[in-house]
Structure formats: structure tokens, C-alpha cells
Symmetry: C2
Subunit: 454 residues, 2 copies
């Protein structure tokens, strides 16, 4: 039997996310992003559709590559303002029961001791529904905000990530041993100090000497997401990630990436199925394909070309203000997201131009771009799953809330009718929902488990 | 007409807060602190009583002075575990409309750029209901957790605080000028980049070169709370704080502290009434004074002496494990909360002993300890207000939820009947509720206002 696919709503605490300019659409409610009702509606809609999670992107800094200034980003709301993703999760959790929350957080600007507490607290309060999308930060403007004169070099960022995670695993998995928590009112013993261990981490980037401040939460370590797709990024993902978020404009590119990550994971002593792989996708669904095409044309008219290029300039480190719209994009050296630059410049059939990046298309979406009635969209998405080995999709925000509502009301039932989507949530934590048969904690073969007390 | 008093519920994201051991009481629900329902009930109860705020303490580290180890703290739940206070605020905000939230956060381990965004985000999502209790961190164990070999010296911590706040004011007040946000769908302009300024802060402790990541929230700068009461701490409070949280075992001590802070504030160009002063207090109220005394005796039997001394050892830096219970406390040198040591050793009428610190009393409470029917408790609390110049109280958690519920159901109506407590919330942000006639932002005469664009 073909496997059930996974779907996340891909969102961000900002008025404009993957498709710049859609906030200007008359029916779009993105400007309400500062209101709890906005997030409650998002989470309840996604949970009504039995989606696996709300995956929250984050950016820490301003997009200032385009034209050498952040002016376009500020004026056109290019992931600006960018509010803290953690703070919206409790609002969404309070209004839902099952859906998970993937939160992007940049380890570069955190300390494991404090950071581990924040995640443990949220894992407690959500009943084990949180995941951490591990990013290392690539915007020079973010570093300047944090008082640093430069960002770390690309591979160096991943070395720091390995070090950060080692410290975090020790806090989450190794500090409070199983059985440490007693909560015994009669004996007056909350915990057994002999089972609460001081972590002594002396890494090249991070040092921690302390016991974890929080008692163990339902999952201990949150579900770990990762999206880096460079060579070093994939190695990092294969070692740590339980969920990987990929981009990719062709099935061949995606299949190669999936195979490489799973192969590497197996080489690290994990199983291929220990990693759930989500591909970014944009899906515009309507009762009929004609209506969907009309919608897509309407939405496309709202893409803001300058904003979209400012966004992609920030990701790639390439200043598209210096390009003509139809000029082939060269493979420039950059300290930004390497894999992104490789992806957009290595497509075989023809050169990619800035115009491709501002158009609704698989290239512009950096993943499947699908328009049609539910059957058409389901056919297309399932073909990507079946031909590449991915497990599902992070569905990009287009017009809020109608794009997601149509996916929930039309696409999900279609997938369910084909036996390719769950009809109820599994019980348990986010990890248990993502990995049937798993427990709430990291599996023993995960590197994080090696930091448990003997 | 005598002024209306202010009341906060003083709480913490931990099973045991000001009075150690009460979590063992059969009716106490503190062990539910990891559940959203616990926080929703707290906030709704406090709002039912028209309290001004829920004031959340925090501790970042373990209490390891007592006996030279953290074992007592871990075993007896001495503010351990200590979960992140930010994460419970959205749960409480979602379930309420008016009540404010004072969140303790240690600036020592934060960077202004990231921290300012977190508070702006929460101020947006709560509709302008958040305050920041500025603390500088005093536990060596917290520093070790953060990879630092030592904590900053006491006065140095306040210098760093001045520097941190200067950077934060620039981000909150100075980056996005009034009128910068357009949100104009028709023109496609979210903001005017000419009115969004890059902050260039080159301080001795903190450096920021960036625009603020968040658009201005209802209050911009959250309401600023501060609790330091050493000489340097008071100077810091007089410069920055809008709300001050004091301890003090006698009215004379409290009156002197109140006068000193207000005088210093005036010397800094502020007004005496620009600072709302809360005194810590413990109030056990029941329908009759006899019932209240029975309750207090029952609660007192649940104080855990070792835990309470471990707590006070952590605050003071004095290892009370080395004292007999009836041995006078000496004034020892320490790098901890200076004013606390001064307070407990300078009471004139007799020497203070550890036994005083583990007893339900004004000394043990480090502020009024009041037991009785509503009239008795109101008389006593109002006498502190009228004789010291404070504005109200941070009411300590004793048994959750019944202590607070009794305060709300019995004490608040009594105060209302006397015309000494509001009968409805004022409209507007937390700042507007605390300062009648004020706007949502810092007043022009506050030091933070000097960082606004010209």
C-alpha cells in the first residue's frame, strides 16, 4: 500500500512570507499577524485538515542584498517586520489538541542552557507538540544586530551547530535521568538529586556547566527539523534531523537529495525511515481546475516583483537589482544559502533568469507549484512523493487564509479518499505522530540518545 | 480622597515560589505548573479580582549556597525546576482581556536586538499588556550554565543594565519613527524606509547595528519593573523603572526606600508619581479571622524549613546550613542581593535568626504578613500604604489557587467598599491602566524617550 503523506502549513510571523506581495490582495489577512486570532484561525484550520504541523520559518535580520540596502525589504514587507516565532505557538496550542509546531530558531545567537529551557517549557505546555527547525543564521545584518562584525563561515556554522546540539542533548537527555522526578507530596521530595546530573560541556563554541533548569518534558528533545541542503548541511541533517525540509525544482534533484540524506543517515547508524522529508510546495486548489487557474492568475497579479527579488537576493546573496529580468543567473560565490544558489543555477534544460523567480512556477516556488482541482493537485503532489521518496510537503502560504482553507477542504479529502492521508491523528507527542510505533523520546539509535546517563 | 491601591499576583513558573514547601499541601495545585490550565485559572482569577497584573519572577540557575550544593533545592523544589516565564504569558493573555503581565528577564544573558523583538512580539499579541522586570542575575550557577566563569560584580551588573537599556530604548523608541508604518495595500507600501532607522549602539557591554525587527507595538517599550534596592539598584530604578517591587520588614524601612526612590527620580527629571511602588506581601484571608488563623497555621505546618533556608541562602549568599536556627544572622560580604542582606540584618529591635526566615511573619515574608478577615487584612495593608507611600502589593503565592481566590473574593470587595480599589479596569495598555491620563508610550520625561528620532 502506498504510504500516507505528511503536510505542514508553512508560515512565518511576518506579513509576507514565501510569495512577496500577496499581503496586498484584498482578501488576504496577513496584516493581522500581530493578533492572536490570526494564529488561532491558522492552527484550527490546519488541525481541521489533520495537518501534521504548522512549520514556522524565521529570519533574524533584514534582507539587504538587493540594491545594497534594506529599503526594498522595509517598504515592501519582505519578511519584514519579522516577529518572534516562539510567542505565537502558545496561542495556537491553546486552541488545538493535536497539531505540532515546528519553530525555526537560530542557534548562532543562543546559549544552550537558556535555549534548552525555553524549548522544554514549551514542550511541557503543549503536551509534547514542539519541534525545532535548526538554523545557523546567514544574514550579515542579523550578526550586526547582535553586535558581531561578521557571520561565521558556512561550514563553520555547522561545526558550531554540532557543538550546540551536543550541549543541548546533554541538557535534554542527560541531566535529569529517568526516575529523577518524584513529585511526592507525602515524602516532601520533588526530585532525587542523585539522579539530576550536572552537565559539563566544554566544546569549541559552547560551554555549559549546570543541571538543566527544567524537569523532563514529554519529548525531552523536541522533534528536530533541519533545512540545510549543502553537502555539509546534508551531513548535519543526516546526523541530527528527524524531519528535513527540502527545496528542489525537479524530481531528479529532489530524488538525489533524498537518497543522499537517507544514505548518509544509514551510514551514521540510523534508518532511512528515521527521517521524514518535507518538500516545499505551493498548491492552489479550487472546486474546478478552471477556478483554480483563475485564482492563480489573480494571485500572480499580486506578486510584487521587486519584493520577490529582494527576498531571493537575501537568500542567495546575489543582487538581482543588477540583473535584467531575462538575464541568465550566474553562479556567484556567496556565504549565503549555498544549496539555493546551486539549485537555481544548475537546472539543466535552460538558464534560469530573475523572471523565473518572480513567477508562479516550480522554479519560483523552488518546489512543486501546482494549480487545479483536488484530483489534479493530488495527482501531481503524489507523483513527487512516489518518484522522489519524500514523505510530504510544507505548503507555502499564498493568500491567508483562503489558500490553506481550500487545501484543507478540498485537497485533504481527496488524499483521504485515495488512502494517502490520515483520517485521524495518532495519539501521543509530535514525535509519536510522525513516527508510528515510536516512543515520545529520541530513538536509541539517534545521536542525542548517546548523551543519556548510563 | 485616599488613593486606590494596586495589587499584583506574584507568581513563578516553578512548583514552589516564595514560601517553600507549600506545594506539599493537599489542596495546592502547584505541581500542575506545566499545564496551560494552571495558568489560565491563575490569570482569570486575578482578572476577576481586577488585579493589575500577574507578576512573574524568574531565577536562572540553581540555589546552591545552602550546604554548598544544590541538592536541597532539587530535592525540595526550591524554585526548581525553573521554567521560562515568557511561554506562559500567551496562555494567560488568550484567556483574559485586561490584566497585565510583568515578566522577569535577566538582561545579562540576552542581546538587546533579539530581546527587544521578543518583547515587541508579545506586546503586539497581548494588545500592550506586558512589562519587563529588569534583573541582572546574581546566581553563579546561572553564569556557569551560560559558559561564563563568574558573574559580574554587583555594581557592574547595573552599569551593564544601563547599557542594555540604552540599546533597547533605541530599538523600541528610536528605530521605527512615528508614521513609518503605512500598511497600504493599494500603494503596496508596508512601511516608509526613510522613517525606519538603523540603530548604532556602541556601548561598553552591548553593540547593535540594525533596524528593529518588529514594527512598533502598542506600548513600544514594555512597562519597566525593577526590584533592586541597593544604593546602585535604587539609582537604576529611579532612572528607568515605572514600577518598583520592594521588600522591607518595617514601615520605617519601606518609607525610607520609597522616599529615596521618588526623590532620586525627581532629581533625574521625573515626577514622584511616575513610579508605582509595589511591596511584597503575604495575605491570608478568610470569612472570619479565626478561620484565617486556622488556615495560616495549617499552611505554616507545610513550610519546609530546609527548603526555605536553601531559598534564602541563595538570595543572600549566606549559607544558613552553618547556622543554628536561633543564631543571630551576621552581615556577611556577598555578591548576591545586597539589599536583602542589609534588610535582614539591620532590623533594629532584635537580632534576626534563621528561625525568623522560616516562619510565617513579616520578617519571613520580607514584607507585610497579614492574616485575618477581609476588614483586618484591608486595615493592615492600607496602613502600610498610607504610612509608607507605596502604591500597592505584590501578593505572594501561598496555596494555589485558594490563597488568591480568597483575596479576590473577600479582600478586593472590602477594598472596593472603602473606595480604595478600582471597580473596573481602565481602557488601554498596561501603562495607561497603571498611570491614569498617560498615553500608551513612555512619557516624554522618561530617559527612554530621549532615544526617539528628532
Amino acid at each position: 500500500m502506498a504510504k500516507e503523506i505528511r503536510l505542514n502549513a508553512f508560515h512565518m510571523n511576518t506579513p509576507s512570507h514565501s510569495w512577496a506581495g500577496l499581503w496586498r490582495h484584498a482578501r488576504d489577512r496577513s496584516l493581522d499577524y500581530t493578533s492572536p486570532a490570526y494564529w488561532v484561525d491558522l492552527a484550527q484550520t490546519a488541525e481541521r485538515g489533520l495537518l501534521d504541523g504548522v512549520f514556522l520559518a524565521d529570519v533574524f535580520g533584514s534582507y539587504d542584498v538587493y540594491g545594497g540596502s534594506r529599503d526594498a525589504a522595509i517598504a515592501h514587507a519582505v519578511q519584514s517586520p519579522s516577529n518572534d516565532p516562539f510567542m505565537v505557538v502558545p496561542f495556537m496550542a491553546q486552541a488545538t489538541k493535536h497539531i505540532g509546531f515546528g519553530i525555526t530558531a537560530t542557534l548562532t545567537y543562543e546559549q544552550p542552557y537558556q535555549f534548552a529551557r525555553r524549548f522544554s517549557t514549551l514542550d511541557h505546555l503543549t503536551g509534547g507538540r514542539v519541534g525545532w527547525n535548526i538554523v545557523t543564521g546567514y544574514l550579515k545584518s542579523g550578526a550586526a544586530g547582535m553586535g558581531q562584525s561578521a557571520i561565521r563561515a558556512h561550514d563553520d556554522r555547522y561545526d558550531a551547530g554540532d557543538d550546540f546540539l551536543a550541549a543541548a542533548y546533554k541538557l535534554w537527555e542527560g541531566s535529569w535521568a529517568a526516575g529523577a522526578v518524584l513529585r511526592d507530596k507525602t515524602l516532601g521530595r520533588f526530585a532525587d538529586p542523585a539522579l539530576v546530573h550536572t552537565i559539563r560541556h566544554r566544546g569549541p563554541y559552547y560551554q555549559v556547566e549546570a543541571a538543566h533548569l527544567s524537569e523532563p518534558s514529554p519529548q525531552r528533545t523536541p522533534v528536530l527539523y533541519q533545512a540545510g541542503a549543502s553537502g555539509r548541511g546534508r551531513e548535519f541533517a543526516a546526523r541530527h534531523a528527524e524531519c528535513v525540509f527540502l527545496g528542489g525544482q525537479t524530481k531528479a534533484i529532489v530524488r538525489d537529495a533524498v537518497d543522499a540524506i537517507r544514505r548518509q543517515a544509514v551510514a551514521f547508524g540510523r534508518r532511512a525511515e528515521d527521517i521524514v522529508i518535507f518538500l516545499g510546495a505551493t498548491a492552489i486548489v479550487a472546486p474546478t481546475s478552471a477556478e483554480a487557474r483563475d485564482l492563480a492568475a489573480d494571485y500572480a497579479a499580486h506578486i510584487d516583483p521587486i519584493a520577490q527579488l529582494a527576498l531571493v537576493s537575501g537568500w542567495s546573496g546575489i543582487d538581482f537589482a543588477k540583473y535584467d529580468l531575462d538575464e541568465p543567473i550566474r553562479h556567484e560565490k556567496s556565504n549565503s544559502i549555498q544549496s539555493f544558489v546551486e539549485n537555481i543555477t544548475t537546472r539543466a534544460d535552460r538558464p534560469i533568469t530573475p523572471r523565473d523567480l518572480i513567477s508562479f512556477s516550480t522554479i519560483g516556488a523552488r518546489g512543486p507549484f501546482v494549480v487545479g482541482d483536488a484530483a489534479t493537485v493530488a495527482d501531481e503532489l503524489l507523483s513527487w512523493v512516489d518518484e522522489t521518496g519524500i514523505d510530504g510537503f510544507n505548503l507555502a502560504r499564498v493568500v491567508v487564509p483562503e489558500t490553506l482553507k481550500a487545501q484543507v477542504d478540498l485537497l485533504v479529502p481527496e488524499l483521504q479518499n485515495r488512502g494517502r492521508f490520515k483520517t485521524a491523528y495518532a495519539e501521543g507527542s509530535l514525535r509519536q505522530k510522525l513516527f508510528p510505533g515510536a516512543g515520545p523520546h529520541l530513538p536509541d539509535r539517534h545521536i542525542g540518545a548517546s548523551h543519556r546517563p548510563l
